[in-house]
């Protein structure tokens, strides 16, 4: 039997080793041997993937629990280093370590010749360590360790090429925006501690606590407090998973190396918000208000980001907005209490989005760093393998029947329609009675529309990049080459995943493996809300609508972009005009709500308050100096006169004492 703590230990060891190599070799001109470093870098994630796989094979139904030792043990608060390996963490761990290993392998090709080769892999290993801790921990505080740890690694990796200050600023932005969410997480934990003591930070204990409340019918007492906690946790999730309003950092995060975007900003880290919601499923299930907020936010994010994706010229930015949009889908699923569907989408999304990013990386690699799609085109013939991978992943993301995305996205849309109980209450509008409106169909329609837009912008990406004729300069055309094997192998494996990952839970053909494995974790939570389900529609209808959406979107994309003249690329690849207003909507909101007020406050502190204090200090000092000068003027210049005066003074004193008889 493999101990659970071995799983995070491997990447941690890798990080320490590689970090040491990076620091030691930093002085030398040539840098460490890439073959050796690359082998080490892949070895540790692979080892931890192996141990996860071995554990996953014979996992008991209830999961494995392990407690290492005390972490914080003070009055009022006690938390342990404990690990929990159950259905949910099994799936998360499998794809985190699996895709992590693949992308590390890919990176050895992608980062070839970079000065910070060893440093890069040290960060990647550190990231895997944090991510594993995040999903493997059995309590919220330890999850938070991983949570901030992945944020930190994301910061380090976005700013990996730190000579360019733009990258550093993107990294800072990512960390600070995430910090805002993290404070929500911390306060949420504090809120929980107030309700049930530090013990309920443990997931099992929290589940029992909720169960106890439900059984004892104390919902009215606790739900208001729990709702506050739930909203705070959700703020944490919006930060990490780039949802409205904390999503601005993810598009900027594309400044990092592309494998990082694939691993951290598409497949694993950004989905940790969804993971947390699923982990706390039992809590969220009894908080209808919070669930509705999650649903609405998820819907808005999915739609907004999909539209923004239409406007981007940078190939990685398109993928970034598409990631945000897909995360919105996952949150919508969580919002209707379909946590297994959301995790399923996390799972399939990890494959096809990682494949897309790695493909984009290979394209960028082939074009020597060019990211503007307006300068690409016709790459199908020059880089056939990459193109095939991208196209498969494309089919998966738009939900083409049979591909991975089809199964998961349809499942989400179906659940939205059937589970959503949100309704506008009846109200009076200009005297007219407006009846209560069920919102499920509206939200379903928005979801479907988003799916159409997804197909459009993804189709645009594929057409602009791989079809038509090459629009770059002649010299660069000659250098276009297929990526090396170390990059191709992971891409092909991921493309397989993008095609077949959906068959773990293909409802229409009767496979429910995925739902069964998650049932022990989220089943009871979903059952709690399932009683509300009244609508019954044939699932085939949803599948048909989903397929129609995908096909329709692809058709629109073909119509618009296949023969359109692409405007020549001007300087920047950033969108302009109204497109920019839409894209940077939340950036400007952040600017006016967050950055400017803080700067004004800081200005007031620095220029007004501090100066006033300085003036007050100066005044006191000046008064003291003036008094001192005045006293000093009593002094006489001549020593002898002073002596004489002091004698006179003494005599006067003695005289007074004698005259009054010492009884003054």
């Amino acid at each position: 039997m493999i101990s659970l703590w071995l799983i995070p230990l491997f990447p941690l060891l890798g990080c320490i080793l590689l970090g040491a190599i990076a620091v030691i070799s930093s002085g030398s001109r040539k840098g460490p041997a890439e073959g050796f470093v690359g082998a080490l870098a892949v070895l540790f994630p692979a080892l931890s993937f192996l141990s996860v796989a071995l554990l996953a094979l014979d996992m008991p139904e209830a999961g494995i629990r392990e407690t290492l030792c005390n972490w914080i043990d003070i009055p009022m608060f006690r938390v342990e280093f404990g690990f929990l390996f159950d259905g949910l963490s099994r799936i998360m761990l499998l794809f985190v370590t699996g895709i992590g290993t693949l992308i590390t392998l890919y990176s050895t090709g992608y980062m070839h010749g970079d000065r910070g080769f060893a440093r890069y892999f040290a960060y990647i290993n550190l990231f895997l360590f944090s991510m594993i801790v995040l999903v493997l921990s059995d309590n919220l505080l330890l999850t938070f360790l991983g949570w901030e740890g992945v944020g930190l690694c994301s910061y380090l990796l976005i700013g990996f090429w730190n000579k360019d200050l733009k990258n550093c600023q993107a990294a800072n932005k990512a960390f600070i925006v995430n910090r805002v969410g993290d404070i929500g997480f911390i306060l949420g934990m504090l809120c929980l501690v107030t309700i049930g003591g530090s013990a309920i930070l443990n997931y099992d204990a929290l589940m029992n606590f909720i169960q106890m409340i439900i059984n004892g019918n104390h919902l009215d007492l606790v739900v208001p407090f729990l709702s506050v906690a739930g909203i705070l946790f959700f703020i944490g999730c919006t930060g990490k998973s780039a949802q409205i309003p904390l999503l601005t950092w993810l598009p900027d995060a594309m400044a990092g190396p592309t494998p990082v975007s694939a691993l951290i900003h598409a497949a694993t880290m950004v989905t940790s918000g969804v993971y947390l919601l699923a982990r706390l499923a039992s809590m969220f299930a009894i908080l209808p208000v919070v669930l509705n907020i999650i649903l609405i936010i998820g819907m808005l994010t999915a739609f907004w980001a999909a539209v923004a994706g239409l406007f981007q010229n940078d190939i990685k930015k398109v993928l970034a907005y598409s990631t945000i949009s897909q995360l919105g889908y996952m949150f919508m699923a969580s919002g209707v209490c379909a946590f297994d569907a959301s995790i399923f989408h996390v799972f399939t999304h990890a494959f096809f989005k990682a494949a897309l990013f790695l493909g984009a990386g290979a394209v960028i690699h082939a074009l020597a760093g060019e990211q503007d799609m307006r300068k690409m085109g016709g790459l199908l013939k020059k880089t056939p393998v990459t193109s095939c991978v991208m196209i498969f992943a494309f089919l998966a993301i738009v939900g083409f029947p049979g591909f991975a995305g089809f199964w998961s996205k349809d499942l989400i849309l179906e659940r939205i329609y059937t589970n959503c109980t949100m309704a506008l209450p009846a109200f009076t509008f200009f005297g007219a009675e407006v009846p209560s409106i069920q919102l499920n169909s509206i939200i379903y329609m928005v979801g479907l529309a988003t799916a159409v837009i997804t197909a459009v912008y993804m189709g645009r990406l594929i057409i602009l990049t791989f079809f038509g004729s090459y629009r770059g300069s002649k010299e660069s055309e000659e250098h276009i080459h297929e990526a090396p094997a170390s990059m191709l192998i992971p891409m092909v494996i991921l493309a397989f995943g993008a095609v077949f990952a959906g068959y773990f839970w293909a409802d229409s053909i009767g496979i429910k493996f995925f739902a069964d494995t998650l049932a022990p974790v989220v089943g009871s939570a979903q059952a709690y809300n399932a009683s509300a389900v009244t609508i019954h529609v044939n699932p085939m209808v949803f599948a048909a609508f989903g397929t129609l959406a995908a096909l329709g979107g692809m058709f629109i994309a073909y119509k618009i972009y296949a023969n359109a003249r692409i405007p020549a690329a001007k300087g920047s690849s950033a969108p302009e005009g109204r497109k920019a207003t839409w894209t940077f909507l939340f950036d400007s909101i952040h600017k006016y709500v967050g950055i400017i007020p803080v700067n004004v406050l800081a200005w007031i502190c620095d220029v007004v308050v501090d100066k006033i204090l300085a003036a007050a200090q100066w005044t006191i000092g000046a008064i003291a100096t003036i008094l001192g000068d005045g006293a000093a003027s009593f002094q006489v210049r001549k020593v002898r006169v002073q002596v004489a005066l002091s004698i006179v003074g003494l005599i006067a004193l003695v005289a007074i004492v004698l005259l009054t008889g010492g009884t003054l």
Partner: protein, 546 residues
């Protein structure tokens, strides 16, 4: 013996340093570092050796005061950790000062050793007058060192520092003297008892006098005027000691002197807590705008200590370990940052943020250390800073969600300014050409590395720190008994009046003793078999009244 050594031996070491060669800084630095290591070892032994106290020795008598002043040292968990910080940071300062002080290393070491002795005395003193003596004595070597080794504005900085802190603690001296005239001796317990007999208005005046001294030392808004310029102009190793150990004397004073002596009203407590929180926000905002690297660190320290003070006055059950961990973490991380900033200044010849930059490609080892120190200061989980700040937040949450939210806001701000700081110093391109000074030496790198490692160790296993507190609880009773017996010796054999017993009882109740404990203590005090019943009755009456 250990306590005597820790307090007195630094002064002996300073005298020894006087005898070393003035010219040969190598040999004198070797001696200084060896002695520093010895002190460090002693401090570690103190931390893990349990709570100890020395025999009180009568020192002198102040005219007009009943009891004599004792030379009486006593270590508890907080004090021993503070001593650990002061010795540890002094050691690293002695190591890293080799690069910047050049020929007058000897004089620098003399100053550092005297400062260390004074700090240890402050933290270990069990007698209020002794505490005050060392509290003031700290200022002098620090001011002399600033004036001797500081930057351009060093004279102004030294004067500001000395005058500000000395004037700040002058009211405390008067208040202490006033208390002593009515107390039996200058121990904590008798001061607390003496205070009980005063009318409330006088109590408040005394409280303000005491608070002022610690507010200035910490420093808390609006008494922070001395801090930025002092930390910026002082030589970096000294800044590290000032922020890492000396400024802790303020927070230490709140915990060990203000809280036990004064029965604080709810208003005073929440006022102090908000002052601390305001300082935290203010420091973070000022750090956002700072253009000077050391000033930025100074304001960052101010912010963290503000948070610590807010934590102290949350008076939550979790307060004590929380603040202790926060102080230790901040001491180590802020110290490390000042050392590194000193190295950066030495290498590039400037500490203006706009003039720095691009060190990561030029000097990767330094930048790795610098980046890690910055990240540790951000309170990322897994570092001691996180444990401290999280538990302080927990303590603040007890006072209501608003303080915790404000504290959370400061965490966001701290991320903002610290990342900006890291970016400005080590990332980007080199801002200007300069002649590179001496790089990080192996010894410096190792010592800062060990500090960062300690932060990690404490972050993953804070029990190293918090367990020393649990150990303290066991010995608390013994100490209380000892303090009481001191009090009773000075009482002589005169039996206590009922009023006095009642007073003592309420003091003890305020200190959190339970009914039966109170009864037994009072019985001890009165040493009268008959009065045990009396004592019990008194306690009963009191608890009935509650």
């Amino acid at each position: 013996m250990l306590l005597h050594l820790l307090v007195l031996a630094p002064f002996v070491a300073a005298i020894l340093m006087v005898m070393t060669s003035k010219e040969d800084s190598k040999s004198s630095s070797r001696l200084a570092i060896l002695m520093g290591i010895a002190f460090m070892a002693m401090a570690t032994a103190l931390v893990y050796g349990g709570d100890i106290s020395t025999e009180p020795i009568e020192w002198f008598r102040i005219p007009g005061v009943k009891g004599p002043v004792h030379y009486y040292l006593y270590s508890h968990a907080l004090a021993s950790w503070m001593v650990f910080l002061s010795c540890g940071l002094s050691l690293v300062a002695l190591i890293s000062a080799r690069g910047i002080t050049c020929r007058s290393y000897r004089n620098f070491a003399i100053g550092i050793f005297s400062l260390m002795g004074a700090m240890n005395g402050t933290f270990l003193a069990a007698d209020a007058v002794l505490f005050f003596f060392f509290f003031e004595a700290m200022v002098i070597p620090a001011a002399v060192l600033i004036a001797g080794f500081g930057g351009k504005d060093r004279m102004k900085a030294a004067m500001t520092f000395a005058i500000y802190t000395l004037v700040g603690s002058a009211p405390m001296m008067v208040a202490l003297w006033y208390l002593l005239t009515i107390a039996d001796n200058s121990m904590l317990m008798s001061l607390a008892i003496a205070l009980q007999s005063l009318p409330e208005g006088t109590q408040n005046v005394l409280l303000i006098c005491f608070l002022l001294a610690f507010l200035v030392k910490t420093p808390i808004f609006p008494f922070h005027g001395w801090q930025a310029i002092t930390y910026a102009e002082a030589p970096a190793p000294l800044s590290a000691i000032l922020t890492g150990a000396m400024s802790k004397a303020g927070v230490f004073g709140f915990i060990t002197w203000v809280l036990p002596i004064f029965p604080l009203s709810l208003n005073a407590v929440s006022c102090m807590m908000w002052l601390g929180l305001f300082t935290a926000v203010y420091g973070a905002l000022m750090a956002l705008r700072a253009t000077d690297g050391k000033k930025l660190l100074a304001f960052s320290s101010m912010g963290h200590l503000g948070l610590a003070v807010a934590g102290v006055f949350s008076l939550s059950e979790a307060m004590f370990p929380a603040v202790l961990v926060l102080l230790v973490a901040h001491g180590i991380s802020a110290g490390a940052q000042f050392f590194l900033m000193g190295i950066a200044e030495r290498m590039t010849g400037t500490r203006e943020l706009d003039q720095l930059g691009g060190l990561s490609s030029k000097n990767p080892v330094f930048s790795t250390l610098f980046g890690f120190a910055g990240v540790m200061a951000l309170a990322v989980p897994g570092t001691a800073g996180f444990v401290g700040e999280f538990t302080v937040l927990l303590a603040l949450w007890d006072m209501g969600p608003l303080p915790a939210i404000v504290a959370g806001f400061t965490l966001i701000l701290s991320a903002a300014y610290m990342l900006r700081f890291i970016q400005k110093v080590i990332f980007g391109k080199q801002a200007r050409e300069y002649e590179e000074g001496e790089r990080t030496t192996l010894l410096e790198g190792t010592s800062v590395g060990i500090m960062l490692l300690l932060l990690l160790v404490f972050g993953f296993h804070p029990a190293f720190i918090t367990d020393t507190l649990a150990r303290g609880e066991a010995t608390d009773d013994a100490v209380a008994a000892q303090v009481l017996s001191d009090a009773s010796i000075n009482q002589g054999n005169a039996p206590m009046t009922a009023d006095e017993i009642h007073q003592l009882d309420s003091t003890l109740a305020a200190a959190g003793f339970k009914d039966d404990e109170r009864a037994s203590i009072i019985a001890q005090m009165t040493k009268d078999a008959d009065s045990e019943e009396n004592a019990e009755n008194t306690v009963k009456e009191a608890s009935d009244a509650e």
